[in-house]
């Protein structure tokens, strides 16, 4: 049994690494297809052709594509993410603090959305087929397709400008206490919460319904266990397991959705970093930022799969067949 788990985990890790390599290739190709040459983009239209060529030479962008890819990837492997064209400084000095700030915002969103959507999904499942179920399901689905900037501007209009209960920007003044920082992050977190709610609630609902319909729940009910014991011990324990996986896979989305939210709320996280890098044609920054998002997603799904395997011994048994 132990061997099987180890074998599975190794295979899963190998798969993630392969995906990562492919991802880096895709990002690199997209980065190289980018039109215009970086030297021209940095120096502007008035610079002489010779200055542009000299700069391109220094930046190393006129080498062959495999050579460029190799130096990029081996640089990353050694912890060198490249040099930002825009700031003429190592990408890592911007990327890591930005990623940290984004994770803070994402954490606030998760702390709100996970309990909320699980309760929503379970309540919907318990009222299956009734109006409440339909309302929760349809509202969740509708909210999850409204773009973050649409709900964001409505929230700003209502809560920050109309009622004046929350700040308009996401960044608290420097040196603020943690509760103040969190207060500034609540409004930007809500558009993310609205998107994620429908999806997680849908999974929690499906898992709960499946558990409610199972033989073991019927047995538990028939042998006279109180309703809440059946719910806690038999229904929730089984229905929430798949929800873990879903929550983890949403991390990737969450980091991506940050591009919009951070732009809207003027928050210097990884989303806005990528956005600015794209508008400035700062390829090393853009490529590193997008790769970072991909890595966060791959890590999150890896952790989810491992957690799921460890929490669910039955999978190992199934596998043995």
């Amino acid at each position: 049994m132990g061997e099987q788990v180890t074998g599975y985990l190794l295979r899963r890790l190998g798969l993630a690494l392969l995906t990562l390599v492919l991802l880096s290739l895709i990002i690199f190709l997209a980065g190289q297809v980018l039109p215009g040459n970086p030297g021209r983009a940095i120096l502007g239209n008035l610079a002489s052709q010779r200055a542009v060529e000299a700069l391109n030479n220094t930046l190393g962008v006129n080498r062959s594509l495999p050579a460029q890819y190799w130096s990029w990837v081996s640089g990353i492997a050694h912890g060198n993410l490249g040099t930002s064209y825009q700031f003429r400084a190592p990408v890592s000095t911007f990327l890591f603090p930005a990623l940290g700030r984004s994770l803070k915002l994402a954490a606030v969103a998760f702390v709100i959305v996970v309990p909320l959507s699980i309760v929503g999904g379970v309540v919907a499942a318990l009222n299956r087929g009734r109006v409440l179920d339909r309302i929760i399901s349809l509202a969740g689905l509708s909210l999850s397709t409204v773009p973050e900037f649409v709900s964001g501007v409505v929230l700003i209009a209502v809560f920050a400008i109309g009622l004046k209960v929350l700040p308009v920007t996401a960044s608290a003044p420097p040196g603020s206490s943690v509760p103040t920082q969190i207060r500034y992050l609540i409004l930007p977190a809500i558009p993310l919460v609205l998107i994620l709610f429908g999806y997680i609630a849908r999974m929690a609902r499906a898992g709960t319904i499946e558990a409610l319909d199972s033989d073991y729940v019927r047995t538990a009910t028939l042998k006279g266990l109180p309703h809440w014991v059946v719910m806690r011990r038999h229904v929730l324990r089984n229905s929430l397991l798949p929800t873990i996986t879903v929550i983890a896979t949403q991390t990737g989305y969450l980091i991506g959705g940050l591009v919009v939210v951070e732009t809207l709320f003027n928050y210097p996280g990884i989303g806005r970093l990528i956005f600015t890098a794209a508008t400035d044609k700062d390829f090393p920054m853009l490529e590193a930022g997008v790769l970072a998002i991909g890595i966060v997603y791959l890590l999150a799904t890896l952790v989810a799969d491992v957690l799921y395997t460890l929490l669910n011994p039955r999978i190992r048994l199934t596998r043995a067949e």
């Binding site: 649409v150 073991y216 896979t249």
Partner: protein
């Protein structure tokens, strides 16, 4: 209906031991061998039963309230997209600068923006671009995705593995980021948006179609067709395709909702339709700075327009899905 029953037994999860008091796992990462869910906001229902579109489905749809609400809203925006220019009360592009930032009134129901342009007219005419780009991108994605998924699911083998890996790698990035990366790469234009969004959706749709095809190909009618010595193309497009049309239709409508989401987001970020052409996302981007000055109407009405359009499409998608799932 016999084949429906057969299909159900194929689709049913493998029975696992329940002696330990736990139910079968709805999501088994081992069985999938890859990340179990798709990335990002773009997440369709993946566990769809295979099915053919039938006339009863239509009859059921017409009786569902969410479907009717969604259809009426969508129809309204389609009318705006096609005829908007002829019935919008003012010129949406040229405003009267002396009448800028006017709040909603009898003359300007939705007020005017900072350049004195009538917001109602801009909202009406702004439906056009998004309703050209999103459906075309979704159509392209569905067509390409269906072919790729059919080939992947029918032939399996190397093609399946290679395409599957590429799809996994792409799915590690949210759709908006992929679209964003490629639109920056080739410059924003209507055609670029259609191609980029269509390409990403093709990967997602291929995955769903592949799953449906994998179930179909084990059925007897495929074996029979092989014995009749039909060509692979005939089996894929004439035998299998009609039987997976249900999931494809569901995918199409769900993706349409997310295409609208993506197009609107890209315009908001400045990678979509360029000003002064009326566009909801771009209008919000240029007007939300005035929110703190109290000019809420310049942002709120385009925002409501986007919300109503995506919700309309999602109501339709959900109704279609529930008709097929029962």
């Amino acid at each position: 209906m016999a084949d429906d029953q057969h299909r159900e037994s194929v689709a049913a999860p493998p029975a696992t031991g329940t002696t330990d008091g736990h139910g079968p796992a709805p999501h088994d990462p081992l069985a999938a061998g890859s990340p179990p869910a798709t990335a990002g906001a773009v997440t369709g229902a993946l566990d769809l039963p295979a099915g053919r579109i039938r006339r009863e489905h239509l009859a059921q749809l017409v009786r569902s309230a969410p479907f009717i609400i969604g259809a009426v809203l969508l129809l309204w925006w389609i009318v705006c997209a096609i005829f908007g220019r002829s019935f919008s009360p003012y010129n949406p592009v040229n405003g009267n600068i002396l009448k800028n930032n006017l709040p909603p009134s009898g003359a300007h129901w939705f007020g005017t923006d900072s350049l004195g342009r009538d917001m109602l007219s801009r909202v009406i005419v702004g439906a056009r671009n998004i309703l050209i780009i999103a459906p075309l991108a979704t159509l392209l994605g569905t067509a390409v995705g269906t072919v790729v998924g059919l080939v992947q699911g029918y032939f399996r083998g190397v093609v399946d593995i290679v395409v599957g890996r590429i799809v996994d790698a792409m799915l590690a990035l949210p759709v908006v980021i992929v679209a964003f990366l490629f639109v920056v790469a080739v410059g924003p234009s209507t055609l670029t948006l259609i191609l980029v969004i269509g390409f990403v959706f093709a990967l997602l749709i291929a995955r769903t179609v592949r799953t449906a095809v994998l179930q179909e190909r084990e059925l007897d009618y495929i074996a029979a067709a092989r014995l009749r010595n039909e060509s692979s193309a005939h089996i894929m497009f004439v035998e299998i395709l009609p039987n997976v049309s249900g999931p494809i239709l569901v995918e199409f409508t769900v993706r349409l909702g997310y295409a609208i989401f993506t197009v609107a987001t890209l315009s908001f970020l400045g990678f979509g339709v360029q000003p002064p052409t009326p566009d909801w996302g771009a209008d919000i981007a240029s007007n939300y700075g005035y929110l703190s000055a109290g000019y809420w109407w310049e942002t709120l009405f385009p925002a409501l327009a986007i919300a109503s359009l995506v919700v309309a499409v999602i109501l339709i998608a959900d109704s279609i899905e529930s008709v097929f799932i029962q």
